[in-house]
């Protein structure tokens, strides 16, 4: 490929930024939605600790979704209309889920005791609704919004698998952030969620080439396939390592952070695989990033802001995780 001009490279930069925002969103909101979906299995006291463990993070986590969709909106306005028009109802359901989850989170600690149970139920319901909708949207998006009997089936499979992945992330988060009985239960929950999540991943990896011709051509060609095998292989090894860790004693002690970190790596590999399948399309088979992008002049203006603020965002995200590191006590406001 020839060296491209800066103007041609701009959409790629924004595509990368959008991808990274979405990845950070899926990982970070993934664990707190997962914690939400585990709520109904916990005792009253444990619920408080679980909520406290995600308390300082959840709304910052959600802003990554705003950033990701924001970049889609401002850098690829034509694609924003197409994608969100196709996903109209699941988007509405996801938003309602996220709203329920977010407000239930805040109301539950402030409401009368008699209402607390209701808010807890809404917290669970909102988290589940958001996760399922996101799975459905991912499934529809990856398959290029195709029509036919197999496409909704594929989307439904992802809608079932993604919440499982979130639950596993949530359980790993709790293993890292809690101790004692709750940690023990989190390990148990992680073991339960592991198999459906892995099963889902395998099924989806097999089904994606089946529903999408572009993906099929990309992956099953020599010699690419040899280099590409690294992605599924590494993912498999990481997942097996997580499973092994869950049976070990070290996960209760000094290695309590490891399952969470390994799962982040699983998501990163999944993301790389997906990125390889999709690039350079923003709507698979319909629209490339160059067709969808705003004018280079507008992108440059946004880029200035991005260069200033993204390092700052990364900086204080790390700062805020450092401030709230360690095992969770109980939720309290200043």
């Amino acid at each position: 490929m020839n060296w491209m001009s800066f103007d041609t490279a701009l959409p790629i930069i924004f595509m990368a930024l959008m991808g990274i925002s979405m990845l950070v969103y899926v990982i970070s909101d993934g664990y707190d939605l997962g914690v939400g979906m585990l709520m109904h299995r916990a005792t009253e006291a444990e619920k408080d600790v679980m909520v406290a463990s995600i308390g300082p993070f959840w709304d910052a986590n959600e802003t990554w979704l705003v950033l990701g969709v924001g970049i889609l909106l401002i850098a690829f306005p034509r694609a924003h209309g197409v994608v969100l028009g196709e996903l109209y109802l699941p988007v509405a359901f996801m938003l309602i889920g996220l709203m329920l989850r977010g407000v239930a989170f805040d109301f539950r600690v402030k409401a009368k005791d008699t209402h607390k149970k209701t808010w807890d139920r809404l917290f669970f319901a909102g988290s589940t609704l958001a996760a399922v909708s996101q799975g459905w949207m991912l499934g529809r998006y990856v398959s290029g919004f195709g029509t036919g009997w197999n496409y909704p089936l594929f989307a439904a499979a992802i809608a079932a698998a993604l919440p499982m992945a979130y639950v596993l992330m949530g359980a790993a988060w709790l293993i890292m952030k809690t101790e004692g009985e709750l940690q023990e239960r989190a390990i148990h929950w992680a073991r339960i969620a592991w198999l459906p999540m892995v099963g889902g991943m395998v099924l989806i990896s097999m089904a994606t080439p089946w529903v999408s011709q572009i993906v099929r051509e990309r992956w099953f060609a020599l010699p690419e396939i040899i280099a590409l095998m690294a992605i599924p292989l590494m993912t498999g090894i990481l997942l097996l390592a997580v499973r092994g860790l869950l049976n070990s004693a070290a996960v209760r002690g000094p290695l309590c952070w490891l399952p969470f970190v390994l799962l982040i790596a699983v998501f990163v590999f999944g993301f790389l695989g997906l990125a390889y399948s999709i690039y350079p399309f923003v709507v698979i088979g319909q629209m490339t990033i160059w067709q969808a992008a705003s004018s280079p002049a507008a992108l440059k203006v946004i880029l200035i802001g991005v260069c200033i603020s993204v390092p700052a965002i990364a900086g204080y995200t790390i700062f805020s995780y450092r401030v709230f590191r360690g095992k969770t006590g109980e939720l309290k406001y200043a």
Binding site: G55, P56, F57, D59, A60, E62, T63, V66, L67, G70, L73, I74, P77, H80, G81, V83, L84, G85, Y88, L89, V91, A92, L95, I96, M99, V103, D106, F107, K110, K112, M176, G253, P254, C256, W257, S294, S295, A297, A298, V301, I302, G305, V306, I308, S309, A312, I313, F319, S320, Y321, V323, F324, R325, G326, K327, G329, L331, K332, Y333, A334
Partner: protein, 470 residues
């Protein structure tokens, strides 16, 4: 119903619900900073009750802030999706202008708030006093910056400037002109003052409710004084700015003024209508209560000044009925605020800032006015937004041309779901505020209990086990 009306109703429902909470958090951020500074200034004084009162106020209102902020965040996320789902044509054509402004809003402001908010709400005792204070500053600054970018975009849609159109797509010629477009300074100031007033009446109203219920003795009298003072200072400024904003609108969007004043035919010496029922079918008003020549006097500063009627704009004018009433609700609320805050402040000062010495009837009036800021703000936004119709970018791009092609049944279904959810959440929000106001000791004691019950090491245990947390 057709898809355009449904899409507009859905967007209106969402934006109405959303604006309630930023209106509170913009002003409350700065008021929290003020409580905080008062506490830092008084905590070494011999009379511990004063400092404790400010600290109680800070902690209590921080909780109100957190709740309002959370509702603002979740409804704000919906906004970023609905631009695409409801108005895809707008972003396709005006994306080069709207995109960067929205982008800057998200990048600079939203993250600033969301990042530092965690530290501000949960970090007391985990970070130094200085860092915590700075976090409070950043959150207050961030909310205001958010408002800056959003109002820049909104004002550009009202009074577009600094762009050129090539092949139906908008390109920026000058960012300074785009951002500081003719109506922006007025609208931005008007909104910030509206936020300050909304918070002021919220402070006064909840404190009055506490006094009526005999709770919160340490902080309620102080908070009430702060609220009344802020309200009494801001309301005349707001009336002045509102008037200037109206004159600005007359210059750039005369059709909006004609609809607000119910002027169907261009006339000289137009009367100010205290009441009327504009009738779009007959293009005239029923049941008018006029004050002769006053509208001309206010708008043109001339008894016989000419005011353009709706007839001068063909079909390109907004509906008169909603604007006429929304405008009167806003102004009426403003006058009520003026009367309440000035009378209240004077009586409260005469009572030597002892709420117990105030007539209970006055406290009831305060309590009734708790959410008056919401009413005025929403009414004002209806005037300005419905007043832009039938355009999405005034004079240039029609709303009907950018609406999405999603089937109206889908829009209808999601609209119904959103409305049910929003109503339930508003009820829940008000109920929880009332509950918190009635049990402030419990709210604050819960904090103290948690702190005492949590072992010192449990919240900040050694970092060894958490290397992966970041």
């Amino acid at each position: 119903m057709d898809a355009l009306i449904l899409a507009r109703m859905q967007f209106a429902a969402n934006i109405t619900f959303h604006i309630l909470f930023p209106t509170i958090s913009i002003g409350l951020g700065w008021l929290l900073l003020f409580f905080r500074v008062r506490w830092l200034r008084t905590r070494h004084e011999p009379d511990k009750a004063i400092a404790q009162g400010w600290l109680d106020a800070y902690r209590f209102w921080t909780k109100v802030f957190a709740l309002s902020f959370a509702l603002g965040v979740v409804s704000g996320i919906t906004m970023s999706f609905q631009f695409g789902t409801n108005w895809p044509g707008f972003m396709e054509q005006a994306g080069n202008i709207a995109g960067p402004l929205l982008g800057y809003e998200v990048l600079t402001a939203f993250f600033l708030e969301a990042g530092f908010l965690g530290v501000m709400l949960f970090g007391h005792g985990k970070v130094s006093e200085r860092v915590h204070f700075m976090s409070t500053c950043f959150v207050a600054f961030g909310t205001t910056l958010s408002a800056f970018w959003i109002l820049a975009l909104n004002s550009w849609m009202q009074t577009p400037a600094g762009h050129e159109i090539e092949g139906g797509v908008y390109h920026v010629k000058s960012w300074v002109e785009v951002i500081f477009n003719p109506s922006f300074p007025y609208r931005f100031t008007h909104m910030l003052l509206a936020s300050g007033l909304t918070c002021a009446f919220l402070l006064v109203g909840l404190s009055a409710w506490q006094v009526l219920r005999g709770v919160g003795q340490r902080s309620a009298p102080r908070v009430m004084r702060v609220g009344l003072t802020v309200a009494a200072v801001l309301i005349p400024v707001q009336i002045f700015v509102g008037d200037a904003h109206g004159l600005n609108t007359l210059e750039h969007q005369p059709a909006k003024i004609a609809a607000m004043e119910g002027v169907w035919q261009t006339e000289r010496g137009a009367p100010l209508l205290l009441f009327a029922v504009p009738d779009a079918a007959e293009r005239k008003n029923h049941f008018e209560i006029p004050i002769p020549k006053l509208a001309s006097l206010i708008l043109t500063h001339d008894l016989d000044g000419e005011i353009k009627g709706l007839n001068a704009f063909g079909d390109a004018h907004p509906p008169a009925l909603p604007l006429f009433f929304a405008f009167r609700i806003m102004v009426g609320m403003g006058l009520l605020m003026l009367a309440t805050s000035w009378l209240g402040w004077w009586l409260y000062r005469r009572a030597k800032w002892q709420p117990a010495a105030l007539p209970r009837r006055l406290l009831w009036v305060f309590a009734a006015m708790t959410f008056s800021g919401w009413v005025a703000t929403v009414a004002g936004w209806y005037v300005t937004e419905i007043g832009r119709q039938p355009f999405i970018v005034y004079g240039l791009l029609r709303t009907a041309d950018v609406v999405s092609k999603v089937p109206s049944s889908m829009i209808g279904l999601s609209l119904a779901l959103y409305i049910v959810l929003y109503l339930a959440l508003i009820v829940a929000y008000v109920t929880v505020l009332k509950y918190m106001a009635e049990k402030p000791e419990e709210v604050l004691a819960q904090d103290a209990r948690d702190q005492a019950a949590t072992p010192a090491g449990a919240t900040t245990s050694p970092a060894i086990s958490t290397g992966g947390a970041a």
